[in-house]
């Protein structure tokens, strides 16, 4: 019960706790790093370096009135914010963190992540529709269009990896990278498409059209306040964490150390390198938020269907052809 085997209660508790704490901390980390990137300081008042800022934020959100607007469609309005964090946490179940550290060892791990991402788009859609507000509706529509179209190339872009590693199982994908080297190099186009599609999937900057505060107030969560808004908020950060953990697993060798910099214990080394790689990607996404501007909605759609889809299909085609030619 208390050993590091995939799916042991110890693992479940530790991973769930770590993900929730990390997601809460990310709220602070993002604001702080954004501050440094903008030559500001960011929140540094609560606790040492402002580290307790998230606690203060959560305290504020919990003590706010849990208000449902009288014109809203009650049931979907309440269900919508619950979907995001649940779905994102479920996706985390298949992320392999180190040998023996993980919650599920699914043979269809990659499909599981994609399926959960697909379910996640319901929350924005339902929230936008149920709010019964023009701006929410616009945000919900945008979220639906954006997430459903970018899911397509997100799926196709990682099929190249499935061909190379011969498996949908995330652990086997990591093992395959240990054998053949990181998949970024053979799958560079797939990698680019995956990062962009993943950004759009988490509705993070610069693809925050569903929220688009300068255009449609706050998009699909305009009418949300208190802990319902908090759930959307935390869900978004868990999504960012998930994406940042998925990219190393798929393209950067997962828990295996680069350049042979292994630590003595395999599990500790695995956890350390996984966290380090995830942290780098989190920083990159914050940097992207600080640097890039939001495209127009038609530009987003054009870019997706006219550039990303052909690119990912081409990548799939070439990968398949090369593997076929080599294999026989």
């Amino acid at each position: 019960m208390f050993e590091f085997v995939v799916g042991s209660p110890l693992n479940i508790v530790l991973i769930l706790g770590a993900v929730l704490v990390a997601a809460a901390l990310l709220i602070w980390v993002e604001r702080r790093v954004l501050g440094f990137l903008n030559e500001r300081l960011g929140p540094n008042r609560v606790g040492p370096w402002g580290i307790a800022q998230s606690l203060a934020d959560v305290g504020k959100l919990i003590t706010k009135e849990d208000w449902v607007p009288p014109f809203a469609d009650k049931l979907p309005f309440i269900v919508a914010p619950i979907i995001v964090p649940v779905v994102m946490l479920l996706s985390f179940a298949v992320i392999p963190i180190a040998p023996g550290v993980g919650i599920m060892d699914l043979n269809i791990g990659l499909l599981w992540v994609l399926a959960m991402a697909g379910l996640g788009s319901y929350s924005a859609m339902l929230g936008g529709l149920a709010s019964n507000n023009k701006f929410s509706l616009l945000g919900g529509l945008r979220a639906a269009g954006q997430m459903i179209s970018y899911e397509v190339f997100m799926g196709i872009s990682i099929l190249g990896i499935v061909i190379l590693s011969d498996s949908f199982n995330l652990r086997e994908i990591v093992e395959a990278q240990h054998k053949h080297g990181w998949f970024v190099f053979p799958q560079f186009i797939g990698f680019i498409v995956f990062v962009i599609a993943g950004l759009a999937e988490t509705k993070r900057w610069p693809f925050d059209l569903a929220e688009g505060e300068s255009e449609i107030i706050s998009g699909f969560n305009t009418e949300y306040s208190g802990m319902k808004f908090g759930l959307f908020f935390v869900g978004e950060y868990i999504g960012m964490l998930l994406l940042s953990a998925l990219i190393p697993v798929l393209f950067f060798g997962g828990w295996y150390a680069p350049f042979g910099l292994e630590l003595p214990n395999a599990i500790i080394s695995g956890i350390f390198w996984m966290c380090a790689k995830t942290g780098c990607w989190i920083f990159f996404f914050i940097l992207v938020r600080a640097a890039l501007v939001r495209p127009r909605y038609d530009q987003l759609m054009n870019y997706g269907w006219l550039v990303m889809l052909p690119l990912s299909l081409l990548n799939l085609l070439v990968t398949g052809a090369v593997v076929l030619a080599q294999g026989n």
Partner: protein, 182 residues
């Protein structure tokens, strides 16, 4: 087609350059001044809290001419003129409603005696709205403010107790026009 590709590559390149430039800013020193811990340097000409100054002899400079109240665009100054036994004019009350004041400094420019002056102090928050109304006793300082030597009654031609006509600085005694007859 080639053109299109070149344009797309250029766009991607410009995005990468943007990312790099923003990244370099993480190593730069933050511009933030952490205000309550670290007081900013306030320039002497900053238009902040309004004071009433005294002349070098320690008398009130204000002569209650009402020019500041006229100049005030938000009508936040109220005062009433009165006179002492020497014939000096001074305000009976002088009241500024700082919840209306916009710190424009027009009153300072309008003042003929350098009495009303704006200072670099900007920390004027109050918990009770009524406390935003400042009386003369609250605003009158014991010093001369920005103009150390200026003394209106020593320069102006008005006769007051202890200073007759023609005794002001740079002033000649009044001429008896009848003595100029040919």
């Amino acid at each position: 087609m080639i053109n299109f590709l070149c344009k797309q590559l250029y766009i991607i390149w410009s995005q990468l350059v943007t990312l790099w430039l923003v990244f370099t800013h993480i190593f730069k020193k933050a511009d933030t001044v952490e205000y309550p811990d670290q007081m900013p340097y306030m320039f002497p000409r900053w238009r902040g809290r309004i004071i009433l100054s005294r002349d070098p002899d320690g008398e009130e400079r204000c002569v209650a001419c009402n020019l500041c109240a006229v100049a005030c665009p938000v009508d936040c100054i109220a005062l009433q003129k009165t006179e002492d036994e020497n014939g000096r004019w001074y305000p009976e009350f002088f009241r500024i409603n700082f919840s209306r004041c916009i710190m424009c400094g027009f009153c300072e420019e309008a003042c003929p005696t350098h009495a009303i002056q704006l200072t670099p102090d900007f920390e004027m928050a109050e918990y009770v709205r009524q406390d935003m109304v400042w009386e003369k006793e609250d605003m009158l300082i014991s010093g001369t403010g920005k103009y150390h030597d200026y003394n209106f009654y020593k320069i102006a031609g008005k006769a007051i107790g202890g200073k007759g006509k023609g005794e002001a600085r740079n002033e000649l005694p009044p001429i008896d026009r009848r003595s100029l007859l040919p």
